[in-house]
Symmetry: C2
Subunit: 475 residues, 2 copies
């Protein structure tokens, strides 16, 4: 709970200054609240953590209600969704904040320097960082806008514009329940613009609005050969090895020049104008800027595209997991019955996830020997998304970001997938502004995930500035 | 312990009949002893089971001593070796029994119908079977000769020829300690012929002596790309995927016609004479005879060789295990830092394991991208082995097997690897007779491993006959 000081000042007429001072003065308490959120292991893809997901939703509802919003936990067939509103500024634009409270699994646990759900501030080469699973993706980012709302309420007694909040719990597991929820609640959630806080800055200090995101098609394939594990001496050579079948198939997914080999995969895919590519090279630096920090040197994908272009504007096929046979210590001369791989495709504008999935399955089936079987398990699918880059609101937000960071804010693409952008367009007909304060070295989805203290603090300040700017911007 | 009835009958002059009757009358007690042995989880490749391996060695020592042999547990740098002697029949040939007391790991445990170390007699389609890890490989087979020695001692008061026994505990983990032990104890273990009980019959009812075995080269490779797991959206396409690198390498190990692609892999490999291949086809049946029972239909290896030929006389490359990235429930859009595979080569006469290993590592290194690293871990290496097929002892043993089973015994090859055959030739200069009573459907190394009660009972009877026959055969 926090203490609200009512005020009679006209909405939005106060400078952001008072609220910014509140953010600075309340940083320690803001961190305490973020840490409480980070301590809940809300791993949405693991059924064992379903109760933790619900607990997280209830925690967020209570925080938002404490700030003074009309907040509720809404049921879905899966993990619940948190919705909150403050529509007091009747004559002002209406924004909808989006974030997700669920996090990725933590394995391999052995590679964490400290327990993933015991957050701490650790000194990093570029200043203090908040270390925990979800610190950056997405709990830290969610708390930047929640703490900004708190500071604005505390400083001004009310918000400078109409605000709704939607925080879901199935972003990391490709859950199917958000879209139907948006359809069922389109009237309640209708707004002028969605503000999505789940993206990164460029390099360390260039604030960015992400205008395009890749889509995602996730597939799990299980190949079965013999009906039992076999002795590789008694049967090796004569009996089909499902790991070998799988390796042949996975190897066939890429061409010699680094492209994806599925027929028609690149149909409808366009290359950004040279001017955009040049600006990207300028702000993103060479391949070593992206790859050097993670110990790599050369762009692995399509020839003719820089590392940043390969992730921002080119589709990809990745193998996210593989298993089969004996994986333990020592050696076992087994010829396994089954082998499994998890494969995902990142899509760009012009690609249809349904067609890509069908083309992948056809490619796989054509390579399964007559006496083997293959099973497919679908793990989410979404098309790429893009938002207009010429709206007054986008320019107002760019101005606010530039003011906070002292560096010209950039319009960029992202290699990640945020299906909600497209779902918001298709269900309630609203475009999104994707504004986030993560850094490329945040290790999201990896051991020792972190969020710079600076990202959290100045991110919160950025939202205060953006909301004031949007309060007076045309839609 | 068992009760010994001393007798003054001249060694070997009694017919086998009395001892065979003892085997039949004592079958229940023999099974109780086998079950006690099967209950000890002597998994040699897993350090956690080292004490179980020692306990198994001590159990065998006590059994052999109880029968009246001079038995001891002998230390090695790894798991101990059991040695026993009964050299009473001074004027008779000297045989050395070999077996191993260690077993394979049991995973995947979920696929076992009952706990792997709680042996039971279960009704099978072709009669009762002993079900447990090690029932067939090799504890059940070891107990056939131990129980034969017991019956001969009980029936005749002594053995018909000089007998030594060597039972090791590192056969399943490619342990390096047997060869030095044989070298250090060559004088003590010197004999006329080694009797190795670790092989199979042909089909259900054709007893067989195995005259050739494949060698084995085991390798584990670990490929590292980035220095941490990455988000496949932020980095996918631009950052090297070590699973994809691994899949390309594994896929490159086989040629389009099913052969192994390593340069020089087939140098020195010869094809058996047409007559031998014809006899094999006759006794082994078509490909469906080997593959049908495990749910497969087509021979997967080199074109132009039957399934049985692909395992008995052709070298192979198998992938025994693979892992990388996210293998759990659901989906994780991770781009892993590492991927691992366990690969083994089965070698035939003419191939050098040292050269094959070097050629494999060269093949792999040539395919590792500049900014990735590869580690190799060696897991055992042994050349193929063969024994003469024209010795009087081999023919005496064939006759004894034919008499017990009522079917002409065959001389065959085996796809498995039993390094001790070659090690015995090279250290104490003795050839081996490989006589075993396993069936191809014993599921060795797999869940629900079994040994037919019939294999155990008639196997024990077979040894009684063989020892009597060898007692009067020339070396």
């Amino acid at each position: 709970m926090s203490d609200i000081h009512p005020s009679s000042g006209p909405t939005g007429s106060l400078p952001a200054g008072t609220a910014l001072a509140r953010v600075d003065a309340g940083l320690d308490q803001s961190l305490e609240r973020l840490f409480a959120l980070l301590r809940i292991p809300s791993i949405s893809t693991q059924p064992a953590h379903a109760a933790d997901c619900r607990r997280t939703a209830e925690w967020l509802r209570d925080e938002l209600a404490g700030i003074g919003l009309d907040a509720s936990v809404r049921e879905t067939p899966g993990h619940p969704i948190v919705v909150a509103h403050d529509l007091g500024a009747a004559d002002r634009p209406h924004v909808l904040f989006y974030g997700h409270y669920d996090v990725q699994p933590v394995d391999p646990l052995a590679l964490w320097d400290r327990p993933p759900f015991e957050p701490a501030i650790v000194d990093g080469p570029e200043g203090p960082r908040i270390v925990a699973r979800g610190a950056s993706d997405d709990k830290g980012q969610v708390m930047t806008f929640i703490e900004a709302l708190r500071a604005l309420r505390e400083a001004d007694g009310r918000l400078p514009l109409r605000v709704s909040v939607l925080i879901e719990g199935e972003e990391e597991c490709g859950g199917p329940n958000l879209r139907p929820f948006l359809e069922a609640n389109a009237a309640e959630l209708g707004c002028d613009v969605a503000l999505i806080c789940d993206t990164s800055m460029v390099g360390r200090d260039t604030p960015a609005i992400t205008a395009s995101l890749r889509g995602l098609v996730g597939e799990e394939i299980v190949i079965q050969a013999a009906d039992r594990d076999l002795h590789s001496g008694m049967f090796g050579n004569a009996a089909r090895n499902p790991i070998a079948v799988l390796a042949d198939i996975l190897s066939s997914l890429r061409t010699a020049d680094g492209g994806v080999s599925l027929p028609g995969f690149y149909d409808g895919v366009t290359v950004p104008p040279d001017g955009v590519r040049a600006r990207w090279r300028e702000i993103a630096g060479g391949d070593e800027a992206l790859l050097g920090p993670v110990g790599l040197a050369e762009a692995a994908g399509e020839r003719g595209f820089s590392a940043v272009e390969q992730t921002w504007c080119r589709p990809s096929c990745e193998i996210n997991g593989i298993s089969g046979g004996y994986e333990g210590d020592g050696f076992k001369t087994v010829l396994p019955a089954k082998a499994m791989a998890k494969v995902s495709f990142r899509l760009v504008a012009g690609q249809d996830p349904v067609r890509v999935r069908a083309s992948f399955r056809e490619h796989v089936r054509a390579r399964i020997p007559a006496d083997c079987r293959v099973e497919f398990h679908e793990h989410g699918g979404s098309a790429a998304s893009a938002v207009p880059t010429d709206s007054p609101m986008l320019h107002a937000a760019l101005g606010a970001l530039t003011a906070e960071w002292g560096v010209d804010a950039a319009v960029i693409g992202s290699g990640g997938s945020i299906p909600v952008v497209r779902e918001l367009q298709e269900t309630i007909g609203v475009d999104s502004l994707l504004v986030g304060f993560a850094r490329d070295d945040d290790r999201i989805h990896s051991p020792n995930e972190k969020y710079d203290l600076d990202s959290f603090h100045r991110g919160t300040r950025s939202w205060v500035r953006i909301l004031h700017a949007l309060a007076t911007a045309g839609a």
